[in-house]
């Protein structure tokens, strides 16, 4: 493949187009990519596929710590595990610059609406890696009066990484899986959150309730969590 590998004396008389291109007037522009393109400077692909490949190859993660799992998440970003090796290691402080949110920890009632807001602030397309048992079901705190039983109650999740907390290797595997799926153009079904639909659905609809319901500002009713019926 590479022209540099070949000894100078065994240079064939006929040059391929590819080799000719690599010996331009200014070889500063040579690159592995240019080499790989072969005889043509053009590539032919579907734009969608190209974009998916781009998205999967360079993911900006949201710097988003909640609980214990965020310590392991930091370890995943940091030395030794170094998530950046896989093209997914730039923690962004602002949700507006992030593609992926890793949800690392227990979500409680007070935090759930805030997390929803952070998620809403991320630009499309956005992906969610839910990290740890707490984001799957509430984990060891599932019985708690204040604990939301899984991230999926609040935002849709693409990948679940189980563990309490998952090892950095597990998180890397989860992120790599997500990259693979994104590159292949697969997406997760979006789950419908109970709090979005339910608006005092368990009350009997009489006049008084209707009247009171008119006063409710839908915008502010961000989260009404029904503890009894949740899984």
């Amino acid at each position: 493949m590479s022209s540099q590998d070949r000894p100078a004396d065994s240079k064939p008389a006929v040059q391929s187009t590819q080799e000719a291109r690599m010996e331009g007037t200014d070889d500063r522009f040579n690159s592995k990519l240019r080499e790989a393109f072969g005889s043509s400077p053009f590539i032919l692909t579907k734009f969608d596929q190209f974009m998916n490949w781009v998205r999967g190859s360079s993911m900006f993660m949201l710097q988003f710590g909640i609980a214990c799992c965020s310590i392991e998440m930091m370890a995943t970003y940091a030395i030794k595990h170094d998530l950046d090796r896989f093209g997914a290691g730039i923690p962004r402080a602002s949700p507006r610059q992030a593609d992926v949110i890793i949800v690392p920890g227990t979500i409680v009632s007070k935090f759930a609406p805030r997390m929803k807001r952070v998620y809403d602030q991320m630009p499309e397309p956005k992906f969610v890696v839910s990290m740890g048992s707490c984001t799957i079901s509430g984990g060891p705190f599932q019985q708690g009066y204040n604990v939301v039983k899984g991230a999926e109650e609040v935002i849709p999740c693409d990948i679940h990484v189980p563990g309490c907390p998952p090892r950095p290797e597990a998180l890397i595997y989860g992120v790599a899986k997500l990259q693979e799926r994104v590159a292949n153009g697969e997406s997760s079904p979006v789950t419908v959150k109970p709090y979005e639909l339910e608006q005092f659905g368990d009350l009997e609809q009489d006049e008084l309730v209707d009247h009171l319901a008119e006063d409710i500002d839908r915008e502010t009713l961000v989260m009404r969590y029904n503890w009894a019926d949740s899984p």
């Binding site: 710097q63 988003f64 710590g65 909640i66 609980a67 214990c68 965020s70 310590i71 392991e72 930091m74 370890a75 940091a78 030395i79 030794k80 402080a93 949700p95 920890g105 227990t106 409680v108 009632s109 007070k110 935090f111 759930a112 609406p113 805030r114 997390m115 807001r117 952070v118 707490c134 060891p140 705190f141 019985q143 708690g144 009066y145 204040n146 604990v147 309490c164 907390p165 090892r167 368990d202 502010t220 009713l221 961000v222 989260m223 009404r224 969590y225 029904n226 503890w227 009894a228």
Partner: protein
């Protein structure tokens, strides 16, 4: 500033009531309080005086000023079938083995009690928590509102008649919107700014309601509870013997799990009167110090990240060294972060085989450590930019720190010589040779220095433990004493026990009701009290200094909110 009067402690030293060579003379204290005492109880850690709910301040002032109890360690509130109780655990910074407990019962119908806030500033948050979770109201409290749960929450979840299945409405409206109310009012030129709960510098999910005057902080109100995951409820619904132990790992999750486990182990062992074999104590001590080192590494690394955005050098260096410690702990416990290694009456298993190899690994790590710490000093503490950011910022005066119940590196950075490992000895610490580090700077810089030096002291302790363990006779390696399968401590036994965790005094209050799980389990979190000092550290300072102060407090939100 502190609300308490400046006291001349040295002059008072002579005439403190109730101080004897054999510990606290509770009869003298009872005489001192006179007719305020309406009853007396015996808790396992100290005697308790029952007082009337409208005389709290008077009693606490007396105990503080005339008997020298200057540390309100904890407030445990609980509901009985017939009454509410606020239990104030008092200690002395000079000698934490001198303890006294003040029990304040209130009626069920009208749970009102006088606030202790004028006596100890730290009572502010503790009483808010008691109000939030139990439902006791405190008269004279400056700001009695919910602290952990959302303001719209209905009911008090740790009360007896709370129905956990009732739906709760949590909306955005109870949080100030930074975009709408930019100015506090039209006249002033202060600006309101929300920091958090999602913010890289808050070390988790902390929300700071900050009012700025120009670039200076005029007012800061920490809003916590974004990680209140019902740790106390979890413990109360689990059994003593094995079910509670995994939870402490998740309080202070900065890999300081062993220290947290030890706090529960110590309290439960004293409650159920269990022995711990000496060999297990040495292993505990070693594992705990490894945990402490990992916790301090994380603190230093993230502090550098806060102060000058140093993601590349210090942060990565700290994580490199932390990984080494985590590998050692993983070899020992089988887990990277949530160790679940201690058991009541000992530890889960012996050191990994082959032992020699493990000791070799530990010694290799300890041999490299002085050089590593030197590296930190040259990168961090002798860095001029770092010094400019940290010296004389976030100053916490010692008497203010005491009033807020600050402990751990925060207190020691303010020159308070308070370390439970030495002052209230447990484990194998009394047999070992090590020093308590204090710095007089009272600023952010002093706190970092304390942490870095404590890493060295921990290394000293581990080194001695390794030597002891290596020479321990094989037939004597008892890792657990004989503990009954089901523990049922005596009915109505109450205990408050604390250990020195990475962040300070981590205490557990437990009351047993004769069953195999505690009737009340209260966690005294060091971070909770330490975080309370943040307004003192940062008001009047520049906003970047507030971020530095917050970083130097080294809070872990899992432990603040529990």
């Amino acid at each position: 500033m502190s609300l308490e009067d400046p006291r001349d402690t040295e002059a008072l030293e002579e005439e403190l009531v109730g101080v004897t060579n054999e510990g606290v003379d509770y009869d003298a204290l009872e005489d001192l309080l006179g007719e305020h005492v309406i009853g007396r109880e015996s808790h396992l850690n100290a005697e308790a005086f029952v007082i009337r709910p409208d005389e709290v301040q008077e009693v606490l002032f007396t105990l503080r000023d005339q008997a020298g109890f200057d540390h309100l360690s904890n407030l445990s509130a609980q509901e009985y079938e017939d009454r509410y109780e606020s239990v104030y655990h008092l200690k002395k910074y000079n000698d934490p083995t001198q303890e006294v407990t003040v029990v304040v019962p209130t009626t069920k119908r009208d749970p009102r009690s006088q606030s202790a806030e004028p006596v100890y500033r730290t009572a502010d948050w503790h009483e808010r928590e008691a109000y939030d979770l139990i439902g006791i109201e405190y008269d004279d409290h400056p700001d009695l509102r919910r602290i952990l749960l959302p303001e719209t929450w209905q009911g008090h979840p740790m009360g007896l008649d709370y129905d956990q299945d009732q739906p709760q409405v949590v909306s955005f409206e109870n949080h100030a919107n930074p975009l709408e109310e930019d100015h506090q009012d039209a006249e002033s030129d202060t600006m309101f700014i929300n920091i958090g709960p999602h913010h890289p510098a808050t070390h988790g999910v902390l929300h700071l309601k900050t009012v700025l005057d120009g670039e200076q902080v005029a007012d800061v109100d920490p809003d916590i509870g974004y990680l209140h995951r019902c740790e106390e409820q979890m413990a109360q619904s689990s059994k003593y013997r094995k079910e509670i132990m995994p939870y402490p790992d998740r309080w202070d999750y900065s890999s300081a799990g062993i220290l947290n486990e030890w706090s529960y182990a110590r309290a439960a062992e004293d409650l159920a009167d269990l022995e711990v074999p000496e060999y297990a104590q040495v292993i505990r001590t070693m594992a705990a110090e490894l945990s402490r080192m990992a916790g301090h590494m994380l603190a230093v690394g993230t502090f550098a990240l806060d102060v000058y955005g140093d993601f590349t050098a210090i942060f990565q260096y700290a994580f490199r060294d932390r990984e080494k410690i985590l590998n050692l702990l993983e070899d020992l416990t089988g887990q990277r972060l949530m160790f679940n290694y201690l058991r009541l009456g000992g530890v889960a298993w012996d050191l990994p085989e082959p032992r020699e190899e493990y000791f070799e690994k530990l010694r290799d790590f300890l041999d490299e450590l002085p050089q590593t710490v030197e590296e930190y000093h040259s990168l961090l503490s002798s860095n001029e930019i770092f010094q400019i950011r940290c010296v004389d910022t976030g100053v916490l005066e010692p008497d203010v720190a005491k009033s807020y119940g600050a402990t751990g590196p925060i207190a020691r950075g303010s020159g308070i010589d308070y370390d439970l490992r030495r002052d209230d000895p447990y484990g194998y610490y009394p047999e070992l040779d090590w020093d308590v580090i204090t710095e007089d700077g009272s600023d952010n810089y002093a706190r970092v220095l304390v942490r870095l030096q404590e890493v060295e002291q921990s290394a000293r302790i581990i080194e001695q433990c390794v030597d002891l363990l290596a020479e321990w006779p094989e037939e004597d390696r008892e890792i657990q004493s004989n503990v009954p399968r089901t523990l049922r401590p005596e009915e109505d036994a109450e205990i408050y026990r604390a250990v020195e965790a990475a962040k300070g005094e981590l205490g557990i209050y437990m009351r047993s009701d004769g069953t195999d799980s505690p009737a009340r389990f209260k966690i005294r979190s060091p971070c909770f009290s330490n975080l309370q000092t943040l307004p003192e550290l940062s008001e009047g300072e520049y906003i970047p200094d507030m971020v530095a102060s917050l970083g130097s407090l080294d809070i872990i939100l899992g432990e603040v909110d529990r």
